[in-house]
Amino acid sequence: MSDLVSAAAAALGIPESLTQRSAEARAAETGASLDEILSAWAGGAPPPATTQEPSPAATAPEEDEAAADPEPVTTAPVIDIPVPDTPQPEAPIPVGRYKPPVLVGVKDNPVGVLVGAIGLFAVIALIGLVGPASLADEPGARTSAISYSETALEGRDIYLSLGCAACHTQMVRPVVADVGLGDVTLNDSNQVLGTRRFGPDLANVGARLTSGQLEAIVGGLGTHPAHSLSPQDLSALVEYLSRSQSDGN
């Protein structure tokens, strides 16, 4: 048996384990014995592994073409890559068995798709990224930029690493919902804007709460998750939050 498997594997050019398994599957499917299958393959029969029988409409002309064109032995996978626009077969198509070829493509140049994809991305980036970024500040207009100390900037990094912005915004909008949260945030803001407000907005929290209150909340007061920070980090974070209030510019 193992000799047969080896011979079949050698003839097919595929690993023995695969040959064995494929032969078992084929034997179960056809009712033939394993030895018969392996003997046939060892004698140079075609590989057993194609999953779809090519349609009668597609095979005859393709075989003729293959015979005339010895080309792609090195790259052709043992699968059916259908060829579109197949000439109509001369033999009559069995009624009820004809299916049009699937996975049909068109002759094209993939470079066009590549250029289109990159070009579209460039346009989108221009509108969605460069556009909002190219805002000109009007001289003399109110600013919402806050002059943070070095310690507060360290606190800002801690704010980011803790993921505070996943629940808190620092963005007061000109809408009814945000009335009372402080001055509207402008496009020169240097606060961490955030996009979720599961907890309160913190744009102006320094004007509402004392440092002690902020420390208690960060430590887990009420339903706020407790963050275990070193005294230095806690101090920096509280400094950052305390500075988060309108400068009155």
Partner: protein, 479 residues
């Protein structure tokens, strides 16, 4: 034929050509990250409702879940699908299996490192993945590998005609590193907060539409036609679907910043171009439906295709919701609320998982020569994933609407000091209950994802033997 157990790693991966084993590896690694991501997603919603219950806060768990689900599961699995279809559609062997293998190791390694880094407080705090810059840079490199591999393979193709999947593969694999390049720009210190916020939303939106949906839909077009032996209904509709996904790309995400400090005209662009998202989803769903004409009955035995078709319909619903929320009047209520959390989870855990399954469950039997391990478990996967993700979407979106209306009415806007600056101050009891229900539905989704992983692993280890699709080429060493 009796089930056969196998443990040899090479045989486990099917023992076929190098690129086929590589594709199987991607599916297996993706399934593992799906479980991790789904578990983290449950934890994030629990943390959202009970802030002090688990030691890691929502702010850290959420990007960990996003990273695992989108890149760990979605991108890795879809890239596996790309490596599976490319040789079959181009008539050329994959350009470099060694490089592609490096890409898999890189992505898996960086996602793992990222999850650990964020968990220990080294994250950047940015959406959607929160990776620090020193992991974002190598991630850009590894995400470029699929594009390089795909383009180099297509360049030497022997099949001069391109099936539509090739177009989706080109676009999806190229957009992926470009999006991450934009993401890297967000780390630059010279950017203002508003610009960083736009970059984050740009990347969040793009990863769903330009990567997950583009590659997932393109590969579904291959699976449907291949498995059902039915010709594609319309190449033009597929084109509409592809380029609409490109146009929709980032706009549905930017809707979250409506009324923010960005320019007003952006909200108009967001509302108008955001409509391209449901257009894309509907075009693709219609195309697949037309292709299935006369073959609907076959879906009962084609597990993968069935999952993909359901995923495509779910995508149309989620896309419509996202597009509607892009208009200013709707954004006045939904922006900054859990509404968008629901949309994002539905994309990642629902649509993403179902589309990926369309490719992996169709490809695995052909790649490893083993039947799908358990049809019942596949049905469980589809059922639980659908119920769980839709349930999470509905509950979180409703909670968001309740919260938004509450804010609009002014009940919370000036009342933070009265409530205390605590967790849940921005939501009422109704929203709290809905968030709890959302977490429970996420557990249902997790059950579905566990079923998927067990099907993938069960198929390659103990599925019944069946015919295998082999890539062979004389004189070429697969190693």
């Amino acid at each position: 034929m009796a089930e056969t157990e196998t443990t040899d790693i090479r045989t486990l991966l099917g023992g076929g050509a190098g690129e086929d084993r590589l594709a199987v590896s991607h599916f297996v690694v993706g399934a593992v990250f799906l479980i991790l991501g789904s578990l983290l997603s449950v934890l994030s919603l629990v943390a959202l409702r009970f802030g002090d219950l688990i030691p890691v806060s929502f702010g850290r768990v959420e990007p960990m879940a996003n990273l695992s689900l989108v890149i760990g599961f979605g991108v890795i699995s879809l890239v596996g699908g790309v490596y599976y279809v490319l040789p079959r559609l181009t008539g050329a062997r994959l350009s470099s299996t060694g490089l592609a293998r490096l890409g898999l190791l890189g992505m898996a390694g960086i996602v793992t490192a990222g999850v650990v880094a964020i968990g220990f407080g080294f994250g950047s705090g940015r959406q959607p993945f929160g990776l620090p810059w020193w992991l974002d840079i190598p991630m850009l490199g590894t995400l470029s590998i699929p594009a390089l591999t795909a383009l180099r393979t297509i360049a030497v193709r022997t099949e001069p005609r391109s099936y539509v999947t090739v177009w989706f593969v080109i676009a999806g694999t190229v957009w992926m590193p470009l999006l991450f390049l934009a993401n890297l720009v967000g780390h630059l210190p010279l950017l203002e907060a508003v610009q960083v916020a736009y970059v984050d939303m740009f990347v969040s939106g793009g990863m769903v539409t330009m990567v997950l949906l583009t590659l997932g839909t393109g590969l579904l077009y291959y699976a449907v036609v291949k498995e059902l032996d039915a010709p594609l209904a319309s190449r033009q509709l597929a084109l509409v679907g592809l380029w609409s996904l490109g146009f929709a790309s980032v706009w549905w995400g930017l809707a979250q910043l409506t009324f923010g400090p960005g320019p007003d005209w952006i909200s108009g662009v967001v509302a108008a171009l955001g409509l391209a998202l449901p257009v894309a989803a509907l075009a693709n769903a219609a195309n697949v439906s037309l292709t299935l004409e006369g073959s609907w009955g076959d879906l009962g035995t084609n597990h993968g295709v069935r999952a993909g078709v359901i995923g495509l319909y779910l995508a149309a619903i989620v896309a419509a919701l996202a597009a509607v929320a892009g208009f200013r009047s709707a954004a006045a209520v939904t922006a900054l609320t859990s509404f968008w959390e629901g949309i994002e989870i539905a994309w990642m855990a629902g649509v993403g998982a179902l589309l990926v399954a369309a490719t992996s469950l169709s490809a695995l039997p052909r790649l490893v020569g083993r039947e799908i391990h358990s049809g019942d478990r596949v049905r469980s996967f589809v059922r639980y994933t659908l119920v769980g993700s839709v349930g999470t979407l509905v509950t979180l979106a409703t909670a968001g609407a309740v919260t938004g209306y509450s804010w609009t009415a002014g009940s919370n806007s000036a009342a933070y000091a009265d409530f205390g600056e605590g967790w849940g101050a921005g939501v009422g009891a109704t929203a709290d209950t809905l968030l709890l229900l959302g977490a429970l539905f996420a557990i249902v989704t997790l059950l579905g994802h566990l079923a998927y992983a067990s099907v993938v692993l069960g198929t390659i280890t103990s599925g019944k033997a069946t015919t295998q699709e082999l890539l062979v080429s004389k004189g070429v060493d697969d190693e």
